[in-house]
Symmetry: D2
Subunit: 183 residues, 4 copies
């Protein structure tokens, strides 16, 4: 059976990040041929084009992990109505040097949780602009603007009953999207 390794990028470094928990919980809703790995982005240097010729080990690792994946899952926080600088820095690193982007052609889905009612809607809009440029075909609806509130997760860290159906539907469509786009 074909396997679909998915690279997961979480847009917040906070230890108890809602988005990290959301990423972990979503994995439970995926079929067995999909495997998910959260990529480490907190040890990357700030991107500086002068380093393109001699990238840090953490940068080489990030690019290799993305290249090995058949799909991408972005679980983004919203900082100041956009994606975090942390996530953008990772995106910038893996897109360079010019002509050697690791992102090209990888199908993606976007999720995001925040405590506010708009639930990362504005961050996701910026992320979609960026991914379109990077030739990352990104699933449209269902949009997942998740409000981080009590009951989102159950006691075991899985998606709680109130959101289960929506999230399972999201995952089913994501799986279909990756299979359609992935070469």
């Amino acid at each position: 059976m074909a396997q679909y390794p998915i690279a997961v990028l979480v847009g917040s470094l906070r230890r108890d990040s809602f988005n990290r928990k959301l990423a972990s919980a979503m994995v439970q809703l995926a079929p067995p041929d999909f495997t998910f790995t959260q990529l480490q982005i907190g040890d990357l240097p700030l991107y500086n084009q002068d380093d393109d010729a001699s990238p840090a080990e953490s940068v080489k690792r990030l690019k290799a992990e993305i290249q090995a994946a058949k799909g991408l899952l972005f679980v983004t926080a919203e900082y100041n109505r956009s994606i975090s600088g942390v996530l953008k820095n990772a995106i910038d690193h893996a897109s360079r040097p010019y002509g050697q982007s690791a992102w090209t052609g990888k199908p993606a889905g976007i999720l995001g949780a925040s405590v506010g009612a708009i639930g990362t809607a504005l961050a996701q809009q910026h992320l979609r602009n960026i991914l379109a440029y990077l030739d990352v075909p990104t699933m449209g609806p269902p949009e997942a603007f998740v409000q981080a509130k009590e009951g989102l997760f159950d006691g075991s860290g899985n998606i709680g009953d109130g959101s289960r159906k929506f999230m399972q539907d999201w995952m089913d469509q994501y799986v279909a999207w990756v299979k359609k786009i992935s070469p």
Copy 2:
């Protein structure tokens, strides 16, 4: 005479950054009551909310420099159709902890240069969204989507003749904007 110290944020760490040169050249077009300081953002850690209680020295320095300024000048690169992760990381740091943003109410202007024809237009659009949220009243036109090409600077690093009039007009309007908005 009232003095207007301006904090300048350049969105690229590259040593020979066009945007850094542009920032330096624009200073020559300003009146004597405006002084400009390029803030260092390349030594900031990646933002992590867990560090809010014990920020790094570089973060404290950045916030103090912004708070001391009467205006802001963003000279942004465009990376992947948005601002750089480096610049967004600096914006995130100075906006936190919640309720203690250093940006609030500071008038701003946006410039940006790139080698491509669209000249950072898309990065500037994202930056405007972010600044609106941060309560940074940002000057509208004239938009400065600068294409980085021969003749932009003269041999002394000043704005070249072909762009001088446009850039002087930009600066004059920026000065008026800062004086109007700054308390």
Copy 3:
């Protein structure tokens, strides 16, 4: 006492539009030197540059009403994650012919209500991009992403108790913004 006539643009033509009701309710929170007029945009033709030399009466009326105002209030619906075509058409008309825009320099505020949780956040982001280009200095926070739900209005059509304090604060800041920017 100086008077501040405000031109109000409502982004939905629906008779029972939440945004129209919101526009009407907000007026009650304004001081006596501010007067509000909802502009008619439903009788405009679709914008066609070929008609610039001989604009329809409805277009001439719209431009005159905007020019007579000292401030703008946009109360926008969200259609398909942007402003409505109806509102954009009105904006396009009043911006033309080239060099004869009626919008230039008028201070603005943005409100918007929708039944969804994100409450026009994405429409407002597009509108801010457009207004920045049109040289319309637009108030930043407080953002008003209003969810249209029971209790938003009281029995008399005024803002209900649950939202009164937020909306009064919004209006107070809007009034200060218009007075600061308006020549």
Copy 4:
């Protein structure tokens, strides 16, 4: 041989619209199994939700034409840093009533020309946001931010030599995208 009828939406009503000419010229670069029809959007009424139950004939025609297509081609002007109200009005009409959108699942490509250097980059960004919500899988690169200048078309109205290779490549990728996504 399977046939791919494509619905073309041009974002400007001007008789001598560059974008209309661009749409016509692009057709010459397509393979014989692709046929293109420019949809009429200039006779649509302004969208009003109150009319959902009894849509105008022009609205019914627009929706039927979109539903009959296997792909979409947007050739957009940029008005005030977004798509035209005229185009947005057409998008709004064909998306309603709620649950009966004609757009769902149709693969799309975006082109746009303007006299300015940024060549509709900002309009295209807004259009991508809108199409993502409408479940219209939209091709990413190559971006076509076309500057409308002498030589863009040859004497017969075809794409001129200077842009031919880029535009042929765009069309080839568009054709592959439609075939991949279309059911």
